[in-house]
């Protein structure tokens, strides 16, 4: 193969290249101008916004021999990841001061992991998927362990590292089987080889595909590959937990969707029923185990397992409505989860982290605004109208129902009702109990902005969902 190298071949990857350059500049500036460290957050923030603007104007294209595809599907997921990064930066400014984290590497690692996610969203070849996934995962291992003197963060990072390494080895073994059976790592190539040679029911191919899916399920934290997430969510710095619960999950869903639709479009019957099991198991594990939690971050970790289950409902239906409802839901989930973690960070101070459910007792009396915001986010996570969570869940369930998965939808609704118990228990603590201490939260500008954006998103999408739905549906045209 002889590919002429011209600069125009790099145009589809310009956003990623820009973000990589920026991440390197962050490290250099942090190292050589330690006095300007305060500016690094703003610098990352504006670069992230710049990349979002760039993505809006970017034309669809293909780079590196169709290994890297820029289409509106990938752009939508890149937007979610960048949105996650920007919100996390807004949440971080105050939190970094409280926890005294050095700043340069924090923002730089976050930018690198977002580059990994963007590569994942655009990857059309399993090699590129693996590279993007590892770039994302390696950066996040470091971010989780950034609090070097905190034993809980050490524990979380080492656990995440071991589990993540194990899962990527499983993923790789699956990829080798797919490669051995079809002779290519290109997703479209796998599909065309399978349909030409009628080997879809070959056991080695099926084992390969299942192992690859196991690796992806690990990244989105779906049961039975969820066991890492509660420990890691609890042990990492809260801003990183917020980041991890939104951005890598979106990237994982982007890869799962593309992998299933591009490499195995004809065997929807098989992977559809596999995903039903995974989705229902995730909802069961997430919603039932969340009931017995006493730590807010841990509770939100189990809730994120359950939400991965809901979001899988859209993918398993295999229709374009299903895909667009999953994309919607991930963005909506980004708004509500960032908001909920924003309130958790708001309550965190130098004396105490205030992560236990008990610390929320009587919050409505001491900090009415924080309690009200938490109320909105909890309603949205439960799926109560007129919040965005209701709209997202409604379209997911509708897509699965139209595709003929009646029983899974009924079970999903039952689990959603169970989830109301632990979300609304927090609301009851805030509004109906007496406060234990006189604590007045300090609202920094960044944190206020993040909370306002999340609340506006949750309520705005809940009341006028049309434009977001249209955008997600349009993103699937030509996929």
């Amino acid at each position: 193969m002889n590919m002429p190298l011209s600069l125009s071949a790099f145009i589809p990857v310009l956003p990623e290249i820009f973000l990589v350059c920026m991440a390197i500049i962050l490290v250099v500036v942090d190292f050589s101008y330690p006095r300007n460290r305060e500016m690094l957050g703003q610098f990352t923030l504006y670069s992230g916004l710049g990349v979002i603007l760039f993505l809006f104007c970017q034309k669809p294209g293909i780079a590196f021999g169709s290994m890297f595809i820029v289409d509106s599907y990938s752009v939508f997921f890149k937007m979610i990841c960048l949105f996650g990064m920007i919100m996390t930066i807004l949440l971080s400014v105050q939190y970094l001061k409280v926890e005294q984290i050095r700043q340069g590497e924090y923002f730089s690692l976050m930018a690198f992991s977002v580059v990994g996610m963007m590569i994942m969203a655009s990857a059309a070849d399993l090699i590129v998927v693996y590279l993007g996934l590892e770039l994302m995962a390696l950066s996040i291992y470091c971010l989780v362990g950034l609090l070097k003197d905190d034993a809980r963060a050490n524990e979380a990072s080492i656990k995440y590292f071991l589990m993540g390494g194990f899962s990527s080895a499983v993923l790789l073994f699956g990829i080798t089987l797919l490669y051995g059976m079809t002779g290519t790592t290109d997703m479209a190539g796998i599909a065309s080889y399978c349909s030409q040679n009628a080997i879809l029911s070959n056991p080695a191919l099926m084992v390969g595909a299942i192992l690859v899916l196991c690796g992806f399920f690990f990244k989105i934290g779906a049961a039975p590959f969820h066991f890492w997430s509660p420990d890691i969510y609890q042990g990492s710095p809260t801003s990183i937990t917020a980041f991890m619960s939104v951005a890598p999950k979106a990237a994982g869903f982007a890869v799962i969707g593309r992998f299933l639709l591009m490499a195995f479009p004809e065997s929807h019957g098989q992977w559809g029923s596999l995903l039903v099991v995974i989705a229902l198991l995730s909802m069961a594990v997430g919603n039932i185990l969340a009931i017995s939690q006493t730590n807010v971050k841990r509770m939100l970790a189990y809730s994120s397992i359950a939400h991965a289950g809901y979001a899988l409902l859209g993918i398993l239906s295999g229709t374009s409505e299903g895909y667009s409802s999953t994309m919607n839901y991930l963005l909506i989930y980004g708004f509500m989860n960032m908001g909920a973690f924003g309130v958790v960070i708001l309550l965190c101070s130098k004396e105490s982290r205030r992560e236990s459910l008990e610390d929320y007792k009587g919050l409505a009396k001491t900090n009415p605004m924080a309690a009200f915001l938490m109320l909105i986010f909890m309603f949205s996570l439960t799926g109560i109208p007129p919040t965005a969570g209701f709209i997202g869940k409604f379209y997911l369930l509708k897509a699965a129902l139209v595709a003929g998965y009646t029983l899974p939808v009924i079970i999903a609704v039952i689990f959603s009702a169970i989830s109301a118990y632990f979300y609304l228990r927090l609301v009851r603590y805030m509004y109906m109990d007496d406060p234990r201490e006189d604590f007045v939260a300090h609202y920094s500008p960044g944190l206020t902005t993040a909370l306002v954006i999340s609340a506006a998103g949750v309520i705005g999408i809940g009341i006028i969902p049309g434009s977001l739905l249209d955008w997600a549906a349009r993103s699937l045209v030509g996929f």
Binding site: I127, Y130, L131, E134, L138, Y141, C142, G145, K148, D149, A151, R152, N154, E155, A156, S157, I158, K159, F161, L162, G165, F166, A169, V170, L172, F173, I175, T176, L177, Y179, G180, G183, T184, T185, P230, D231, Q234, G235, S292, Q293, T294, N295, R298
Partner: protein
């Protein structure tokens, strides 16, 4: 000539040994070595398949995997050192503060 299935069997056995070791051993360094064993099983698989399929994609992939594994080793050992400074242990049974 050795048939491809022998290489694949070797890779599968190495991968299984790695998985078994990862699940059974409690020393983080040993678990880490088992992970490397799994990755090398993958590499054997890829190189053998690449040779028999007469396609270079597998060879390319192996270079990427080796590079990523090196980066992973650097980060993993760094994390183990930080853990050891704080807790004076590298046994996963002893790191159990987070549970519930």
């Amino acid at each position: 000539m050795i048939p491809l299935s022998w290489y694949m069997a070797l890779a599968a056995i190495l991968f299984s040994i790695g998985t078994y070791g990862f699940l059974v051993r409690r020393n983080i360094i040993i678990m880490f070595l088992c992970m490397e064993l799994m990755l090398n099983a993958v590499n054997i698989n890829l190189v053998a398949m690449s040779h028999y399929l007469d396609s270079l994609a597998g060879h390319n992939f192996v270079f990427f995997i080796i590079t990523v594994a090196a980066a992973e080793a650097a980060i993993g050992l760094g994390l183990v050192i930080v853990l050891f400074r704080n807790k004076k242990t590298i046994y996963v049974d002893h790191i159990n503060e987070l549970k519930g």
